[in-house]
């Protein structure tokens, strides 16, 4: 064991961790927003909204993320005539992919409420929008917070796939250091430990929220 290899390359690898966080945060925000739109379409009774959103969700949930990344990588020059920057390509494929998972979490959150809630809201004279805004969404969001946190942790892990298009996020940098120093055991244990600590904090926050939701 030579832990010096970690100390020597720490600033380089920490820089990658910053990019990992950046990728994760943009993906979570973008994926959630697209996911809300998809979920609303999936809940809609209008078939021209329901079917395209349903096909979208099943399509992306049936594919490995790594294939989506490559597919976009090959498709984008055909559509736009120029190739995307690695960072943009990663973000677009992550958002397109994770939105399908967010959509299902949000849809399940809304569907977990009893129909009586909607009926009661309508019968007090609230409009469709007001019912959604004041009755349905506040309850639905509370139900889905644990699942959203879990998804955020998964996204944080998934950003490591940006590795394949050469983005220098945390794992890529660990890999580069290993290529130079040939210290695989120390470096990959270190990478595992860093991800483990960050994801455990996220998972614990998720299960704490879950307990709180169940109690109230």
């Amino acid at each position: 064991m030579d832990l010096g290899v970690i100390a020597r390359n720490f600033p380089f690898m920490a820089g990658g961790l910053l990019l990992t966080f950046e990728l994760a945060l943009i993906t979570i925000a973008g994926g959630f927003l697209v996911g809300v739109v998809l979920a609303l379409c999936r809940l809609s009774s209008r078939s021209w909204l329901y079917y395209p959103a349903t096909v979208y969700v099943h399509f992306f949930r049936g594919l490995p993320l790594i294939l989506v990344i490559f597919w976009l990588y090959f498709l984008s020059p055909v559509v736009t005539g120029s190739s995307l920057k690695a960072f943009n390509a990663a973000i677009i494929s992550f958002v397109l992919f994770e939105a399908a998972y967010f959509a299902e979490i949000i849809r399940a959150g809304v569907q977990s409420l009893s129909r009586g809630q909607i009926m009661a809201a309508y019968s007090t004279g609230l409009t469709q929008f007001q019912s959604a805004r004041h009755v349905i969404l506040p309850q639905a969001v509370r139900n889905m917070v644990p699942a959203l946190v879990t998804q955020a942790v998964i996204i944080f892990q998934d950003t490591s796939l940006a590795y394949v298009i050469g983005l220098r996020e945390f794992l890529r940098r660990v890999n580069l250091v290993d290529a130079r120093e040939a210290r695989s055991v120390e470096l990959y244990l270190f990478a595992g430990l860093v991800y483990f600590i960050i994801c455990s904090v996220g998972s614990m926050a998720g299960s704490r929220l879950e307990k709180r939701t169940k109690r109230s």
Partner: protein, 242 residues
């Protein structure tokens, strides 16, 4: 616009030698994920049971396994098995490994995918076990069965039927995750699609075909499992799909 300039050439999907490569890639994806799945089920059932047993150290071991494997990205685990794990072996075993196992990346992929999926299977299995009413255990014990017999004849067969839908999802996740083994050089279908592009510049066609492969296999699995689920449905339980 580039769209007009791009000449689709779908013949890369069947033309020699690419057709054969793609078929080989599809088969590799299938047997790699099946082998990993077998490992995952055996290991996952064991860890899942450890997590619901009475003894605290055993439970701790079970939950440590699940937490470690679930909170580290699969890609990191894959690299660990491929780059680091052989270095932990004694030098003589390492030499033997490099001399006698030409497709080490394949086996590293099976090991990584199997042990990772096991942690997910264990969690699904545990929640299946917890969903079984306590009375089933009491009834089994009161007829004089030992702990092992209770699990073997009463609890596990019962839990198996409850967990078919989540297990179907986990199998498909395992199947999709097998694509990541391309990063350590396994020639499964995603890697093959990417590889053919480097000779033909027709990666769009091959990755589209690979997508169709994943989607159609997923459809088949979902269909087969829903038939199976209806067959062995536990009578008297509320239908799980409303």
């Amino acid at each position: 616009m580039g769209f007009i300039n791009y000449n689709f050439d779908w013949s890369v999907l069947w033309r020699h030698p690419y057709g054969e490569l793609l078929i080989k890639g599809i088969l590799t994806t299938l047997h790699l994920s099946l082998l990993a799945w077998i490992l995952a089920v055996v290991l996952g059932l064991t860890v899942g049971i450890l997590r619901v047993l009475q003894s605290p150290p055993v439970r701790f071991f079970g939950s440590a396994y699940v937490h470690i494997f679930r909170n580290i990205p699969f890609l990191v685990q894959l690299f660990f098995w491929y780059f680091a794990a052989p270095l932990l072996l004694p030098a003589s075993t390492q030499e033997w490994l490099y001399d006698n196992v030409p497709n080490y990346s394949y086996w590293a992929g099976v090991a990584a995918l199997g042990t990772y999926t096991a942690s997910r299977v264990a969690e699904q299995f545990r929640s299946g076990l917890l969903a079984i009413p306590r009375d089933q255990y009491r009834a089994a014990y009161s007829t004089g069965l030992t702990t092992f017999q209770t699990y073997r004849h009463v609890i596990v067969p019962y839990a198996f039927r409850i967990i078919i839908p989540p297990f179907t999802t986990e199998f498909l996740t395992c199947f999709k995750n097998s694509a990541l083994t391309m990063t350590i050089g396994v020639m499964e279908v995603t890697h093959t699609a990417y590889y053919i592009d480097s000779f033909t510049w027709h990666g769009l066609e091959t990755t589209t075909a690979a997508s169709m492969v994943y989607l159609s296999i997923a459809l088949c699995v979902v269909f087969l499992m829903s038939v199976l689920e209806k067959r062995i449905h536990i009578p008297g339980m509320i239908d799980r799909r409303h």
